[in-house]
Each structure stands twice: as C-alpha cells, then as structure tokens.
Amino acid sequence: MSGINLKGKVYDIQGFSIQDGPGIRTTVFLKGCPLSCPWCHSPESQAFGSQLSWMSMRCIGIEQCGKCLNVCEKGAITPGEVTKKSGTDEDIQYVHINRKICDNCGSCTEVCYPGGLSMCGEEYTVNDLVDRVSKDTPFYEQSGGGVTISGGEALSQPQFVFEVLKSLKEIEIHTALDTTGFTDGKNIDAVLPYTDLFLYDLKHMDSVQHKQVVGVANEKILENAKRIAKAGGKIQVRIPVIPHFNDSQDNIRQTGEFCKSLGEAVVLVQLLPYHNLGITKYQRIFDDVKVLEAEPPSDEKIQKLKEILEDFGLTVTIH
C-alpha cells in the first residue's frame, strides 16, 4: 500500500498544542518507540501495537454497568475491590484487569460506554489524518503555527510519516517533526524536504551512558543531527533534564558545544526539566508503575544550565 491510503498507528491528536514548535499547533502522536527512557511521560507511546487503557475516574462501577466482565473471552477482567470513588465518599466496585491474560483485543472497549476502557492506538490513513489536522488551518495561519508529528519515535513508521509530511506541505501547512533521531539516515533524507522544523532530542553526549539508560547508543542520533544541519534543515534541540543522568554541567557543556558545531541549523535550545506528572498515565496501561521517580531539578540549577548553553551563543528557553 502506498500514498494517501497508507495507514499509521496514532495514539493521540492534540489541538492547541503550544509547546511543540511555533504558533498554535496540532500534535499527532504516533505509537511505538525503540528507546526506553525511564522518565518517559507517555507510556502509551512505547509499544507498537494497540493497548487496553483503563481510567478509573470514568468507570461507573460493576453495580451500574459491569458489561466488560461478560464480553472478555480470555477472562482477563474480573470484579475488583470495593473502594471509594475518587473525590467522593461513595463506594464503588471497579474491575480488575489481568494484564498477563489480556491480549488487547479491545472487545471490552466496545461495550464500555462511559469510556473507562479504551484502546490506545488507532489506525489512520494518511488522507484521514491530514483531513483531521487541517481542520485547524485558520489557527495555524493566524499564529504562524502548523502540525507537529511526534511519538513515540515517529520515524519508526517512516513511510507513513513521509506521506503525511508531504501531503501537509502540499496544502502549505507548516510542519515540525519531533524525533529522538534514532533512525536510519535515509529516513531523515526522505522527510527533510517536507519538514520545516525538527524538534530534536539530545539526551546525553556520552554514548555508553546513553545506551546504559535509554537502551541505545547515541552515535546514530548525533550523526543524523549533523545530516539535517548539512542539508540546511532547522533544528530545535530539546534536552530533557533528568536528575543524576544528564544534568551535570559537564554534559550540558558538551551538548552546547555539539549544538554550536551544527551552526545556523540550531534555531532554539529548549531545556525540559524532569517532572513527575506521567505516573497516573502508567497506571492506565500497566499494573505497576515503572516510571522514574525523582526530585525535579531546582530552578537555580536549570538557570545555571541555561547560562552554560547561552555561553555558546545559543538561544535557550525553559519549559
């Protein structure tokens, strides 16, 4: 299959996205990522296949509904413990999902009207996706915004991303690609002509530590950044500041040096201080919370790192 009928797996589309590039944007989140960052705030982005998501706050309880118990052929859904409905004194009996048995078939979500159970990961054709995101064109035009393709690692679905970006440029919508950079060079080459801006993660300059923590080495990532710069692409570098991993002044200095070496290509460097808001999202698709729990870095510390980067003549913002 090719062209506009090609399908990709999307787990979220967010309108009025104002942190993912210039102006008012719509961000499309694609499923699947080859990295495994312990601080990842989007656990639903990691796996390539669709997953069952469970949100207790939307469930109305077994007494009122309980239809999911009957439709699960695997027997993965059973009555859970009686507890208090969040924010109230009312008793409620939720369901329990046995993730070891559940095969993410999704039949329970079809009968779940309140939306407690839903499938994370929906297939879109290029055409449908472009139609969907181009609805907000008046806002892009007024604000100098556009569409950001994000992940997971969006370039894990390279053909789909290529077709989407190409179609968006055909209708003159500004495009940004949010990437870890961990992909084959040819995928970068393919999307370069249709990508106005790369939002590019640089997590650690030391390849050994990089591999140790996120599971892959960084050579390919740095190589691809250079490839973009050389081809005249624009890069907005994003540095997640993770306590005890990449927050040393030394590492930030090396990152700054690298950014400087990319020359005119780097339009902005963003520091994204670690926060712990992703934990509840883990509970929706995993039994146990696997996200990194740490103290967020202090404002002073972030300010210092910002100054280090600015010494390289870079424009730096904190988010």
């Binding site: 309108g15 309140p114 609805k135 806002f139 915004g145």
Partner: protein, 808 residues
Amino acid sequence: MYKLKPVPIKVLKMRDKYRNTIPKVCTSRLKIVTDFYQNNPNITGILKRAMVFKEIAEKTPILISEDEVVVGSMASTYRGSALFPENDITWMQADYDNGKLFNRELDPYIIDEEDWEYIKSVIPYWKKNSLSAMVDQYIPEGYFSAVGNQVTVYNSEGICAAPVGHFCSNYDKAIRKGFGAVKAEAQAKMAEMEGHMETDTIKQYNFYRSVVIVSDGMIVLSKRYAAEAARQAAECTNSERKAELEMMADSLNWIMENPARTFYEAIQVMFLYQIGMCLHNNMHGISFGRVDQYLGSFYEADLKAGRTTPEKAQEIFDLFALKVAEMNKIWFSGTTLTVTGYTVGQLMTLGGVDKENNDATNAVTYMMLQTAGRLILHDPPMALRINKNTPKELWEAALETTKICGGVPTFENDDVIIPALMKNGRMNLESARNYCLIGCVEPGGTGDEWPACGGSGGEAYWNMPMAIIHAINDGNNPMTDRYGNKSDKRTGAHTGYLYEMDTFDDVLEAVTTQYKYFLEWQMTMVNMFEVVAAEHMAQPLISCMMDGCMESGKDVMNGGAKNNSCGVPGVGIGNAIDCLAVIKYMVYDHKLCTAKELYEAVMNNWEGKEDLHQFILNKVPHYGNDNEYCDEWAKWLLNLFADIVSSFTNIRGCKFAPGLYPVATNVLWGLLTPATPDGRRKHEPLSDGISPVQQLDKNGPTALLKSLANIPQEKYSNGTLLNMKFHPTALSNETGMAKLEALMKTYFSMGGMEMQLNVVSGETLRKAQENPEEYKDLVVRVAGYSAYFVELFKNCQDDLIQRTELTL
C-alpha cells in the same frame, strides 16, 4: 512587559473600606418617595416622575466620606442601599416571612429593626401602588395557561421588582453641555408652544416641562454636594485636604449647570449623573458607555496645561471606580442564585473605533485597565472593543489584566458587532461604530438607544432546552415550577409526544411550533409590560440626555430615543443543540433505541437506564467539537430562534434583537429543568453562554471555537457570551500569551463576537471553596459578570469548577 504601578495609600484605604463594609439598608429614599406619592395623588404620569426626582434631589442624604474626591451617594451610610418601592417592595415581606431578610447567606445586608418597622408599615400601600401591581392587572387572559412553563421569564404577579434598565445614556452630552443648557433648550421649546398646542404637542410640552424639573433636580443635587464640601473645608485642619475640599466645592458648584472644565469635573459629572439616574430609576445595568472616549480629551488638556500628572489622574480614576463599586441595592434573596457580589452591571466600555473607523485607543483606555488590575476590582465591569488596529500594547495590557482579575475586561469584536447592529434596521453606521456594551455583554448604542432589555425590565432569559421538552411532551412541563406547583394543564402548544413522531422532520416541526409559541408569548408580555410601564415610569432624566428625545419631545419609554431595540436572550444553547443531535442520532439515524425508550428514560431522569445514558454522553457526537453532525443542528436551531425574535416588533417600532447569554441563570434554570434528551440529569446546570455542555468539549479550544464560530452570531446583535477557562500554566510566559492572543484573533476572524477568560486552575477554585478567607480577592468571570469567587452561590462555584479547563 506590562507593569502595575504602586497604589497610593489613600486609594488602598478606600479599597479596604469597600471590601470590609457590609452594606446597610437606608430608608431615606423610601420615605421621600412614599411621602411624595401619598401626599400627591393628584400628580400623575410624567410630571409625577419628574417631581419625585426633584424631591429626592432636594432631600436625599448628602454624604462626603473621609478622603473622597469623587462624590455622590445612594444612602446615608457608606455603601448603603436605597429602596425602590415604585417598582415593587412586597418581596421584602416575602423574604422576611421565609426568614431570609435578616439571614441572607450571600450578599448580606444590615437592616435596623426600626427601619424594618417603617418598611413593613408602607408595604401595604405599595402593594396597590407599585408598577408590579399595575402591570399585573393587564396580563392577557390567554397567558395564564402558559404560566408555569419555565421557558419564558414572565410570571403572573409581582414581576416588576427589576426596573426598566439596560441602557447607556449620553454622558458625553451631560459632561460637555450640562443640564443648564438642556433646561434652556426645553424652556425655549415650551415658550414656542405656549397657547397653541394640539394633540401630540401637548405631550411634547409635558415632556419638556418634566425636563426642566429634572434638570433643576440635578443642579440642586450638585450644589448640595458643593455646600457640604465647603462646610467640611471650613472645618478641616489638614491643609492638603482643605484645599482638595475647596477645589471640589468649586467644581460641584460649576458642573451640572455648566460644561465640565477638567478631567476631574468630567468624572464627577458622569458619577453624579449616574447617582441621579439610579436614585430616580432603581439600578439595573445602567451602563457608562465609552468612558475613555468621554475622558481622553480632558486628560490630554489637563496634562498640557500642567493641571494634572498621570499619577494624579490615575488616582482620581481609581477613586471613581471604587465609588462605582460601592453602589449596590438589596433585592430579593433569590436573586443571589443568579447574580452575587453586589454587582449591578454598571459596565464601562473601552477601546474600539471612532466615527471614521480609526482605532480610538487613548491614555484613559490604559488607565482603566490599570485600575482594574491594580485594585483587583470586578466592579465596574469593563468591556474592551477589539478591532483590526487594536495596538499590541493594549492586547497585552488587557490579557495581563484578565489574568489578575478574571474576566476583566471582556473582549468584544467590532468586526462582527458593528455589522450586526446595522441589520434589521436597528441603527445606522455612525451609531453602530459608536456602540458600547451594556449590562454584561449586550452591544447597544452609546447615548442614542433605549434598548430596555426585554422581560419585566430585566432580561428575558429564555430557557431553550425547556422548550424542547415541551416539544416532545405534547406541550406539558413535567416538573413542578419554582413555587413548587405542578401544572395540571398544558403550558405550551399541542405538538404530540416524541414517540408519536415518525421522522426527525416531525421533531423539528414540533420544536419550531414551541419556539414560536413561547418566543411570541415572551415578546408579547414584554410589549404589554412596556405599555403599562411607559404610563407610570416615564424617564425624563434619561430622556433629556439621550439622543433623539429632545428633538422629538418624547420620553425614551415612548420611543423618543434615536434607536429602539429590545433584547431577548436564550439560555442553555449547548443542551438544546445536543438534544436535537441526540434524538436524531439515537432514534432516527442509527435506530439505537426507540423514541418511546428515549422519551421514558428522559421522563424518569435516566433512572434504570444508565447504559443508555452513558452511551448518549460518550458515544454520540456533542456540540463544541468541530463536528458537522452537531454543528448543522446548532445552525438550524439558532437560526430558528434568531429569525422568530428578529421578526417581532416592539412597542417603540423597532424589531426585537436576539441574544445568547445567561448571567448565571443557567444554574438557576438548571434547578428547574427536568432531565433532557442530551444526557443532562434533572437539576443539573444548563450549559453556559454559547459554550457546549460542561465537559463535553473534548477536542480542545480550537475545535470548540470552530463550532462556536459556525453558529450565526451575526444575527445576535443583543450579544453572545463565551466564557473560556485556561489553566495558568498555559499562559505563564510571553509565548503562551501570544498564542492565546492568536487563538482569540482567529475566533474573531471566523465570526466570533465576544470572549471572556478565566485564567485559573480548578485546583485553586477548590482550595478557595475550602478556605475562603485566603482567597478573598480571587476574581472570576461567572457569565455576564465577574465576582469575587468566595462570594458566589455554592452551585455556581461548582459550575465554574466543572467547566472544561483548557491547558496544553
């Protein structure tokens, strides 16, 4: 970067006094008016109204409090409340009988025992002599069968506690011409007519005669203040204050009779005229209009002549705003369910364009925002007119102000409002370009229109989903009414039951019938009210300044003003639209349930039908998500409403103007509305303004705004209201602010008329609910008005928390 300047101690002290004074009921006005009415039964009509005003001006207590520079008072104590028996005062007895008069939960008042004894003693007189009493006699026989419908705002008795209101008089004329000139003009007209008057000329003569009397009244009032200022100056030992009082005495002696000479005098005229109108006329949405346009040239001239400094002028404006904030009136306790925080809707407009369509921003525009921001004042409410040339700095100042002071100012779109005002023969281009906002969000003429928003002087907050309930229930209201009565008769038109309707077209036909039935009754009653009120409640003090009246020799109540519309606002738009979409989706398009099933589920408040209820809430398209399925019915319904309203003529010869705003009646109406097909349960609030149903807009602000821009807002010249709530993190830096500005501009370019913002998190609101003391100054936008959050009715607080919060 926008900065708030430090507040002078004097202003801070005044603000503290305002925030810490519980208003006291004052019987002065009640006594003056009661004595006059009881002693002069021979004086009637417009003459009575003029003479009673002069009597008030001569006898009302004169109060100049410590440090006051801008003066004028409704009562004998600071922040006191006057009483208005000519409209209706029987509600006080009712509040006393149900134990609420002395124990108001919200907006409490101090009432002395002996004052209550006096009030009680005159209630029987007013029971037969108030406007309510007279209007009640004229209710058409046929309307009694519609009473209890909970769609229209018009009951069978005691409905005139709200005065005629919602207008903007010509303050600019009062400032620049004065009452001396108006009086002379009236006298000249009378001299011409003496001895040879026929038919209408006699009415004109009586009108001009009343203008002379009220002009004298205004001059007397000002001179009494001058005398008090001079008296205090003579006794004052502080030389600075003494000089200030002497300056005030000099000005108060001069103004009203003569044109104002300075920035201070212009403000003093505006305020004292306001006090005069409120004392005469009860206070209800009497709006100031384009304050920056009246004052800009005075400020520039004073600066140039070295008579003032920016700091000094700012201080005077602060003190003026605090005087406006101080004004309030006690009203029946039930009103606090819809409007609290003592607000009376004395809206000020800023920004906009001039006659030639150039941006009209001036230094006073910024001064007004500075006052709201640095004093955290929700009152006076402010509305900013936006046009394509609104300066960047003004956008910034306004957005920063609304972050501090929720919903102040509101943002009004000239590009949609000006053409809307010119539709349907409402006003010409010059008037439209000079429009202001009235009450809460109603566009109207500045000094040249008598809109007297419909209903019994208040607004006709017409319950849209309730008319749909009538449409599917053969014209019956399944609920008990607000007095606990269940109507045993049909209150609407006979249109059959949902389960008798074979096609969706049948449903639309039933809805059309009920909308026509109830809207025409609503406007009929407004017209009937106006006819009776025009006879007993002439408005010479307003008419003498309002463009058109001096020329025509006619009071505003008789159509003397240049422009003459009248608004009818609908409430619960989101629910009503979703009702149609849900019925179509479930019963006719997808046949997911039968009409009978849906009908019964609704009539039984979804009891035992949770599955169906959840499906409707979560699986059916809802308005506000940029979804064509709903947006098509949004358009259909709002065209229907607008077309019926704007084809009906008021007694002043102009068409009615449709609006879409609720104040907080969406909460009150919700309590009185049964479950609705859109999935709403009985008693839950209706949706707010033109917003979707609370929490059913799931695609973020861009999709929401596209849905709202799709409705025919250009037909709603009485105003539309959109309240958006943003989490503070979305707007914590300049980039976020720029993106918000772009969001608003896009909405405006797509046809949006109005927007107001709350930048506050649900978490903060919940904390404020738990610890009100710590959040005393948290101002939030409720609907058509802002208020201190902690002073709101609990259901209203909950409704605010429930509204979708837009973040990243």
